[in-house]
């Protein structure tokens, strides 16, 4: 995919506590042609979102240490930064009756890279 020089490259915030998986997710974002920004937990993610208004997509894990898990982080983002698109991923199946915030897509881990890339393209379009 080619990006015209005058268009800014979409920024994707990757939130994942496991370093190896964070590296991998960042690589997937790069392969999609976008720029990854990394956070190891929800608190870091919120701090980054507050300082960087150019983030368009958040790609987050659910199970993370600390108070806020990925679902709560997504709800918080949906409330505070409504235009941001969200991808949620987890090694656990979604608990029954989980209410996903609007414009949020779930992927079970391990996920197919090509599907995540296709979704990133759709969300950034």
């Amino acid at each position: 995919m080619t990006i015209a020089s005058h268009t800014p490259v979409p920024i994707v915030l990757v939130v994942e506590d496991e370093p190896l998986l964070r590296l991998f997710a960042a690589q997937v974002v790069e392969d999609a042609g976008y720029e990854p920004v990394e956070a190891a937990n929800a608190a870091e993610a919120i701090a980054i979102l507050e300082s960087r208004p150019d983030i368009r997509i958040v790609f987050t894990d659910i199970d993370m240490p600390g108070g806020l898990d990925g679902i709560k982080l997504a709800a918080f983002i949906r409330d505070r930064w409504p235009p941001i698109k969200i991808i949620i991923t987890s090694g656990k199946p979604l608990p029954p009756r989980t209410v996903m915030p609007a414009e949020t897509v779930f992927f079970s881990k391990p996920y197919r890279q090509d599907r995540v890339i296709a979704l990133l393209h759709k969300m950034a379009a």
């Binding site: 496991e18 190896l20 998986l21 590296l23 991998f24 690589q27 199970d63 090694g91 656990k92 199946p93 079970s108 881990k109 391990p110 996920y111 197919r112 890279q113 090509d114």
Partner: protein, 524 residues
Amino acid sequence: MSEIQAARRADALKELAVLDTPEEQAFDDIVFIASRTCDTPIALISLLDYDRQWFKARVGLEVCQTEIAQSVCQIDVDDAEMLVIPDLTRDPRTAANPLVTGERAFRFYAGAPLVLRSGVVVGRLCVIDTKTRPEGLTPEQMTLLRALGRQVSDQLDLRRAAQVSARLLELQTALIEIGERIRASEEAVEMTSAAAAVVGRVLGVQRASFGLVDPDVEIVDVEADWTAPGVASIAGRHRFDDYGTLRADLVAGEPLVIEDVATDHRTSAHTDAMRALDIGALVNMPVRDHGRTVAIFIVNASRPRFWTPDEVLFLRSVAARLEAGVARLRAERQQSVLNDEINHRLKNMLSMVQAIASQTLRTVSQREPVESFERRLIALSAAHDVLLQKSWKDADLRTVAEAVIETVGFGERMTLDGPSVPLGARAALSFSLVVHELMTNACKYGAFCLDIGHVELTWTIEASGLIVRWRERGGPLVVAPSRKGFGSKLIRLGLTGTGGTELRYEPDGFEADLRASVEHLAQA
């Protein structure tokens, strides 16, 4: 008539459960025969309660009971001998009896004792005439009246035995029902509510409740509560000490059985508290866990009530079943938590393998093997998800197939049809890989290459076992590959990793038949 004998008699009659019951042919027949045999207008079966005599059967008398003081039958009854009074007006024991002096004008009396197998005398079979009989009964009439008296005693004992065994059957049936309801329950409160409802109904009590207790059994929190219509619930927290000295037995795991809260020494000082809850009699049955009382099964009757040993035993069995049921739920819950954790770690591990492989193989210019690796990994992971939902027991064949199809795509171009077939953990994993490879091949060379192509995946159970049929239609012309790659080797391993696979490259499209015995699938 001694007090102790009278008390034994009253207890025996209560045990017989015969007082105030409807007429019964067997007893009616006996009084009829007695009156004919002795040629008297009146014959009675008189049962001697504390304050009255009650007639189980009667001929020639319209009342069913009299005060005990008017009873001729009670005279010398504890001797268990025949009593014959030729002229009631001239016997000092009966001369002033209103039945003799009044308009009934009883004159002659003869009565045979009713002696139960336990030895207790409960009354008499008597014949009465309104004319005196200085000669009394003939020896033959005496013998027959005695024999009929023994018949009545036997009938009373048999009647009781039949009632006891009918009751036992009723309690056993209820226990079976409770066992089934407990087995079918997924929640503890569902188990206890079901048990309470059945117990309340079968014991005919006003309330049956289940409550958790603290380690010292000071407080009970009643959660499940069954009540008869119009009876208030006791759901909520109660302190045992507010109702009497009840804790010692419960802490020790012994049932607390109280027939009358007003007279029992453990509750007699707290009858107001009992009356406030409309409790006249109760059983509290401890439910134990690891040698401690953890809960109480409570049964309340609004009036004093005799609890038979069978009923107490029944409640003990109900408590034991609840214990086992709750223990089963806890074990299942722990197992489920453990399964979730194992699966989560396993899937995290698969994600790590994917991440490492992806990074390691980044520089490999040929992308196809790298992608197939990732997809096989994901197909395996999807099968794990299905197995986890079934706690690693049997996964359904269709569910496994659908999970794998979801990871590949093209679901809208596939038709699935077949009965429910349970797959063991190993079979589910190998089947998921086979379906994945078949789909991958269909994408590369078969039905999914062309827009109109589709696949039918059907399975049937036949005498030889399970047959899974993969039929591709509407694709390009297929030819057998010259080289066998890893994918086709996976397919040839079949449903259980032991073969049984037949592949055909037909002009209509590729076909595969996979065979395995159903037992093998579920075990594998």
